[in-house]
């Protein structure tokens, strides 16, 4: 199981028992890669010549610019786009950025502020009135290429893998740097599901960390171990870097004692 947000694994797999068993789905995971949130665009995008990391939110606020986001309920890139806009408000001292970039939603997505921290509440249906939304951020790439979107919130690796332009955001906003972990932590996106879900997932801003684990009920644990060894080894790391995906200098484990012994020795090297 490989995810783009390490917080998902403890939230959804720790403590959750496999049916008819006393095992949790997982009790360890390894953080192994990071990424940077920014804006994917093409040469046909409106104002492509003038957008940069200083004026991006100004450009995205213009009425003739089509902005794409992915669904914050199901895609990490979606809720992180909201985080980035909220962080931008603090960074640029302009508390209209989130609303100007994202526009209205029906029902509204609300932000509550408390002692400098912000909680963005996402309701169970997300119907955007300004931005163009699809379930997952990669589904927006086709619309970028067809010219029906000018910019979409996207990870750097994905934008570059597809040969698209990428507007970098300041590190205080783009969720890439551990140096700003405290700053990122000021923003939380909370799923405010009234009816359907038994848990309301809550995502606190933090540096993007991709994580993996092998579920306790995996049908082919040995093959999974081999894959993890490949992924964390020199060959795997080279594949990541060639795909513009920054890796962590040193992969780190959560609950290393629970890891298979083969992986423990791998991480100690």
């Amino acid at each position: 199981m490989v995810v783009a947000d390490q917080s998902l694994l403890p939230m959804l797999m720790y403590g959750n028992k496999v049916p008819d068993s006393t095992d949790e789905y997982a009790n360890w995971y390894i953080r192994f890669a990071t990424n940077r949130l920014g804006l994917a665009y093409t040469s046909q995008s409106k104002y492509a010549a003038e957008i940069g990391s200083a004026n991006w939110y100004e450009v995205l606020s213009r009425p003739d610019v089509k902005v794409g986001i992915s669904d914050p309920r199901i895609d990490s890139c979606g809720y992180r786009a909201f985080m980035a806009c909220q962080l931008a408000e603090d960074y640029y001292s302009d508390n209209t950025i989130l609303e100007r970039v994202m526009g209205d939603f029906s029902p509204p997505i609300t932000v509550s502020d408390n002692l400098g921290s912000h909680v963005i509440a996402v309701p169970e249906t997300v119907k955007p009135k300004k931005v163009i939304m699809r379930g997952y951020s990669v589904q927006l790439l086709g619309l970028l290429e067809s010219g029906d979107l000018d910019y979409s919130f996207e990870y750097e690796s994905v934008a570059k893998q597809h040969g698209l332009g990428f507007v970098e955001l300041p590190a205080e906003i783009d969720l890439s740097s551990r140096d700003f972990a405290d700053r990122y932590g000021q923003v939380t996106v909370k799923m405010d599901f009234q009816r359907f879900a038994s848990i309301d997932p809550e995502f606190r801003g933090e540096p993007i960390q991709y994580a993996l684990t092998i579920p306790t009920n995996a049908p082919h644990t040995n093959a999974a171990l081999q894959f993890v060894e490949f992924l964390l080894g020199a060959d795997g790391q080279r594949v990541f870097l060639e795909s513009y995906q920054p890796t962590l200098d040193l992969p780190e484990a959560d609950n290393p004692a629970n890891m298979p012994a083969r992986l423990q020795s791998l991480l100690e090297q």
Partner: protein, 273 residues
């Protein structure tokens, strides 16, 4: 003796065929019936009163109807030409018309985006009159129309072919213009086939998922935003799981059943006359 044997052979075939038919019926009916009855009438009523659900159902029904009406205006003349005229490349054209049925519908959506996208030919053309297709009702309608209009054309073509061409010739010799002949002879005689083709087209349009998903997710509708029912069901399933998706699925199946049983009844009643 030989009569009895042939009757028995016939009978064993009937039995085998009946068993095979039963298997298929169970395969079709079990999921439909189980889904419809999985939600209590109270849950279904609450689901229908859920604002996103009823606006979605309404959007689906109306967009499908709009696609079908446009399909009738442009598809029936084509069907008539195919039924009555001989020309080079006709076979090829007939095969071409069925292409939307056989290609994956996500591919159909991409093909449409490639023509109706803001930077492409038709997209630019419509853009001049203020019509765009991404996340708009127009996008839903063209996606639905593309994948469903072959049903209308094929069925109308067969209906026109079944009209005796001598009737049209008699009308012409009696002084009727081609227009009069079409509207007063061919169309009334072919209406049942056109009608059942329209019903098929509408049904197919309303059930479209893949092509709509690529062009139009949430679209402006009745002062708010709505998505088509197939996408709503998938969205509930993805975001909240089976329990949340089931009542919506039951409701959508139920509504489709009611509409199409009623329409088929109308078409069949015409048959008896």
């Amino acid at each position: 003796m030989s009569r009895v044997r042939s009757w028995m052979r016939h009978d064993s075939m009937s039995v085998v065929f009946a068993i095979l038919a039963m298997l298929l019926l169970v395969f079709i009916l079990a999921p439909v019936v189980k889904t419809v009855f999985s939600s209590s009438p109270g849950t279904l009523w609450d689901t229908l009163r859920d604002e996103s659900v009823y606006s979605s159902v309404l959007l689906t029904v109306l967009a499908g109807l709009l696609a079908t009406l446009i399909g009738i205006v442009v598809g029936v003349p084509l069907a008539y030409l195919l039924a009555r005229r001989q020309f080079r490349g006709k076979r090829f054209l007939e095969a071409l018309i069925d292409v939307p049925i056989v290609i994956p519908h996500s591919a159909a959506g991409i093909a449409l985006l490639f023509v109706f996208g803001r930077q492409f030919l038709l997209g630019k053309l419509f853009g001049h009159v203020g019509i765009t297709f991404v996340d708009t009702l127009a996008g839903v309608v063209i996606a639905m129309m593309f994948v469903s209009v072959p049903f209308l054309i094929d069925s109308s073509k067969d209906a026109f072919k079944a009209v005796d061409v001598r009737m049209e010739k008699v009308a012409r010799t009696l002084g009727a213009s081609p227009w009069q002949t079409f509207f007063r002879v061919s169309l009334p005689l072919a209406w049942r086939g056109i009608f059942s083709g329209s019903v098929m087209m509408w049904a197919r349009a309303m059930s479209e998922f893949g092509a709509v998903l690529i062009l139009a997710y949430y679209v402006p509708f009745l002062g708010d935003r709505a998505t088509v029912a197939p996408i709503l069901v998938a969205d509930r399933f993805t975001a909240f799981g089976l329990d949340a998706a089931l009542p919506v699925a039951s409701l959508v199946i139920l509504i489709s059943l009611v509409i199409f049983v009623a329409l088929r009844y109308i078409a069949l009643r015409g048959d008896k006359q």
